[in-house]
Symmetry: C2
């Protein structure tokens, strides 16, 4: 497994000070072996997507400079853009204080990151404040049109969204 082959890329987590204030990569993967990843547009700062990496995806992202994730719905290593052409070139990678979350600043080929066809997966906003009316909170669309039509791009591939 890649984790074993490249384990020297990651330091063992030994002290809180080392993890929080040290200068070596010592990631903490969760019980499923995953780290959450926030991906933003390097130019606009917009959050494009929220995904996950396993150790192999993290290693490949570092080594290649292109975003790799772990697809939880398909249970495979996922080189973003392999199907859609919407490759994400990583401009900067950051890791958080306790090293259990990653932030990628990326340039996106084609300008879109969402499998539904929008630029960002976060294309709807949630209004704030008391909701007096009964019923679900209404969402507001913040992107007026899709950047691409997903059907010809993804064809009959299973939709990753799960109910």
């Amino acid at each position: 497994m890649a984790e074993t082959q490249n384990s020297s890329m990651f330091a063992a987590r030994q002290t809180i000070e080392q993890v929080e204030e040290g200068a070596e990569l010592a990631p903490k993967f969760d019980a499923d072996g995953l780290l959450p990843v926030v991906t933003t547009d390097a130019t606009s700062g917009e959050v494009l997507m929220h995904g996950y990496m396993n150790a192999e995806a993290l290693q490949k992202t570092i080594a290649t400079g292109e975003a790799h994730y772990w697809s939880r719905s398909r249970q495979v290593l996922w080189h973003k853009g392999a199907s859609s052409g919407l490759v994400q070139t990583v401009v900067e990678m950051r890791i958080d204080d306790d090293q259990d979350a990653v932030w990628l600043r990326v340039d996106v080929a084609g300008g879109a990151s969402c499998h539904v066809g929008y630029r960002s997966c976060f294309f709807r906003s949630v209004p704030l404040g008391p909701h007096a009316a009964a019923g679900p909170v209404p969402l507001t669309f913040e992107e007026s049109e899709k950047v691409f039509d997903p059907q010809p791009v993804y064809g009959d591939a299973p939709n990753p969204t799960k109910l």
Copy 2:
């Protein structure tokens, strides 16, 4: 429980089209009852932190316009800033395509969000490209100084970072 009291704020997830392209809030909480949350500075676009919300935290954030999270380390509802004064006022809340992740754009009282004392929790970058040398990948500090000293702010409160 708050989930029961306020369950009408959330729609039942019935179809993929409804979840992805509909205009009602129908969040998907994970097996632990949590949603991941990306929090960015509303002005700079910088990612400040990555956290989690349970249903009650989501409801309180919507209702009050101040960020509430679920603290996994302390296992409590966490009104950010209650201890530190670093309250996050939500400028905009977004939800992603399959409604299993939230993005908050916030203004932060005091300008810092990280319990270590930095502006952002993501204060270190990970260099990209092949790492020929043996040993862990070295990190680069991207913030040169802390915004506040955590000791007088948090005192003897347990550090949330876990090895």
